[in-house]
Amino acid sequence: MESDMALRLVVGLALTIGILAFAGRRLLFLVKLARSGKPATGRLSDPTARFEAEAVEVLGQKKLLKWTIPGIAHVFAFWGFLVLGATILEVYGALFIADFAIPVIGHWSLLGFAEDLFGLLVLVGIAIFVVLRLTNKPEVKGRFSRFFGSHTKGAWLILFMIFNVVWTLFLYRAAQYNVSLYTGEEHFPFMDGGAFMTEWVASWLYPLGQTANEVLETVGIWLQIGVVLAFLLIVLNSKHLHIGAAPVNVFTSRRPNALGPLLPIMYDGKPLNFEDPPEDALFGKGHIAEFTWKGYVDFMACTECGRCQSQCPAWNTEKPLSPKLMIMNLRDTMFAQSEYLLAAKGSHPGLGEFDDAALASLSPEVRAEVERPFIGSREGSDHASEDGYTPDGHRTSHPDLPIIDEEALWACTTCGACVNQCPVDIEHIDHFIDMRRNQVLIATDFPAELNGLFKNLENKGNPWGMNASDRNAWISEVDFEVNVFGANGEDTIPDDVDYLFWVGCAGAFEDRAKRTTKNVAELLNMAGVNFMVLGEGETCTGDPARRAGNEFLFQMQAAQNVEVLNEIQAKKIVVTCPHCLNTLKREYPQLGGNYEVVHHSELLADLVKAGRLTPVNKIDQTVTYHDPCYLGRHNKIYTPPRELVSASAEKVVEMERSGDKSFCCGAGGARMWMEERIGSRVNQNRGDEAIATGAKRIAVGCPFCSVMLNDAVTTRQQDPERAIGVEVVDISTLLLQASKS
């Protein structure tokens, strides 16, 4: 007996020390690699929100549960592994002491029950995962599989290993149980009941006899330890790294999420001063070594689950962009260039320069990889339309071609579906915009259409290149008085003005949006809200420039607007454009502009509730509402527009993709100003979904959605059978119509 225990201990410890040495080396490498990134600012501020996120998203698995069945399966696996932590303690205890039990709680039946229950639930979880993987095979479903391009072989190995963890667990526990029965020594801590699975398995092993069970006990313990350690090694060397990286990533991610405002370009912990930038400042990301440590943790945390990809407007319309593949590509690049990153230790100067000493220390192969162009055209390369990935997660290598496909980079509409979905809080959009910044500010290699946008913004202060003097043109088309700032010589907004109505460039210059402007003005007038417009003093908020990567231009536009708004002491602002809303409300605080900004749907919904607007004539038609990304996902305004639609129309239907799962119209991320050359059209995809609801009116709350969806509907109307009488309207149009007797 004594010698048996000694053998058990020696083999167990030898296994552990041997494998832990490898695991420790790998862990150290990963930590060093993450730390070699450039500095990131504010990643530990507001710890309360961070611990809360950890509780809700990690322990509570909230984002995983957005998808019910896969979510529950993951809850089983995740909580299973937390609870089975107790069995790891027990199995190591059993190496030293045959009748080991965890102090105090170690003999509680409830603990035994919990361990067995979660062991069983892990099995249920992996059974669900197996079914999900079999029914979502990328080889069969192609791009429509969320696992397209993910490492499916690795995923199967992980599932197999989890299965091994569980069966070896029950094997040694059952043998322990039987040995306890034979000898009366309490090898198994839960002889008083509770461990129902163990007892059931034990009943099958009991007939093998005492000796066999004694052998099975020791062998089972070795197997359990061996499997757990092997699993640890696999985790550290695969996409399953998320087990460790995800909690770190969730803790250090932007709170409440990485949507809404974009981050300014930072230097030394402060927003970069474009007037006089330091010599060593970086303007975006033009090389993997220019990413921050948070970027590296993002890449390590990706589990390749593909929830981002399943919702992506670019991927769903056959563009080469999948947020998942982009993150995987960045991660593969990070590992491929890790030797350089570790040697340079964050001293990579960027802007096309390298840390020469670090570069000189590399083998020719790694050096070639490090010096490979980062962003550019991958046209004509293998699997170009899938961002260079094969269905089973193999990255096709083209040593001469750039790493990031520019077509993928510019396909992003910044709709935020990926960020919203990601269970581990990866900040996809921030990375894409950082790379766009490099393309615009440093490389000047970007879609030619943006030239016109930038020039118009610079010279005319609006994307269309219209004259500022025409900003008030809509006023002459309404039959009530509109207060224009400065018309009566005022220097600041008078106290009796309730809202500054920020009309926006679309609202002033684009025909459909102009109608919205007039409708909102009329409704406000009807409700007795005293509002004022800036007229010629307005310029573009800078949103399209910022989303197109032209941070310099954004900063100029924004500084000018903040100066004006602060000077006239603007406090409450109403807008009809969600992009203006996002910029004025959430980005201008970065430049010292703090205002109370509402979308017209919020203000109008309040006015209806207060009885100041009464929809007396409900529209006798079915209406469906399309959530604009910058109103919904980016700013969490889902209810007020729906309240308005319900108040104005007899019947409302929802599209399948609505609320935080709304599908982009295709105009965000400055895509409004770019040609869509690859695949099918995003706006058509969404328009067809809206038409399929049978609704006669498609309500929107954004001038760009309005244009895009209107185009989609018009296209379908050229086919005489379809979309007859379907109209895309702003919610204010519905309300105005319903408010008139």
Binding site: P277, V440, L441, I442, T444, N451, N467
Partner: protein, 260 residues
């Protein structure tokens, strides 16, 4: 290869422009000034030629008020190497004849192999300055180019005419003017904008450039604005309601206007 690019700051192309009461000179202060769009193509072409050549120098030359310095900086931020800004109150109101004289004075004797212009300015729209400058300098003029090739001491262009393209070759030094089809002007990178702040710009007065003050300015102009009036507002159009006779109604309208 040393190339001069002549650029002009013009009032924003699409803005409503005003003339000053009395003199009838363009009121430059009332509108945003931008670099003449066609000159951006000229700068781009010069940069392309030197880049393809693997070296050389691009000098931006501009005549205009203080504010025209912005156009020079813009060209420098695109990648030109240095600038010359001719600025003098005595130049105000110069017509194209005087402008060509002043520019020729500045350009002469500086050893340029090529002098490139945009084919016209979007404010005056005369298109004659490049030809006049060539004449004054005694150089070949190759105007309205939509393709420029420089090789072996010769410059060859495809010249856009109403009837098609003409291919013209001349020995350098020569004067070239380019049309907007020739290239896609680059957007200045932020790096370029920063670098432009440090690039040298030589500021010249009429005296510095050896210009005879009597030959420039409004006094020397060969043409004179007698009177001017604002363009009448656009009249409302005729709306044809299509009640099955839309085609006929449009045809009637067009024939009434003697268009068909």
């Amino acid at each position: 290869m040393k190339i001069a690019v002549c650029v002009k700051q013009v009032p924003d192309t699409w803005a409503e422009k005003k003339l000053k009461d009395g003199s009838g000179i363009l009121d430059r202060e009332s509108v945003e000034g931008v670099m003449n769009e066609l000159d951006e193509y000229a700068v781009e072409e010069a940069l392309k030629i030197t880049e393809a050549d693997g070296g050389g120098e691009v000098v931006v030359v501009s005549m205009g008020p203080e504010r025209a310095g912005e156009a020079v900086r813009k060209a420098l931020s695109m990648g030109a190497d240095s600038g010359i800004h001719l600025v003098d109150d005595g130049l105000v109101g110069s017509d194209s004849v005087a402008t060509s004289y002043a520019l020729a004075k500045v350009l002469d004797g500086r050893g340029f192999d090529l002098i490139i212009f945009g084919s016209e300015s979007t404010d005056a729209r005369m298109s004659v300055v490049p030809a006049m400058v060539a004449e004054r300098l005694g150089l070949a003029q190759l105007t309205f180019a939509n393709k420029v090739e420089v090789a072996g001491g010769n410059v060859t262009i495809d010249r856009v005419t109403d009837n098609g393209l003409e291919t013209i070759t001349a020995a350098t030094p020569a004067v070239v003017s380019v049309v907007e089809k020739i290239n896609e002007p680059r957007y200045p990178s932020f790096k370029g904008i920063m670098a432009a702040k440090k690039k040298p710009v030589e500021t010249l007065s009429v005296g510095d450039a050896g210009i005879d003050a009597g030959q420039v300015g409004i006094g020397a102009a060969w043409s004179k604005v007698d009177s001017f009036a604002a363009r009448p507002p656009k009249a409302a159009g005729v709306v044809v309601q299509d009640e099955g006779n839309g085609g006929v109604a449009i045809a009637d309208f067009l024939s009434a206007q003697k268009i068909i």
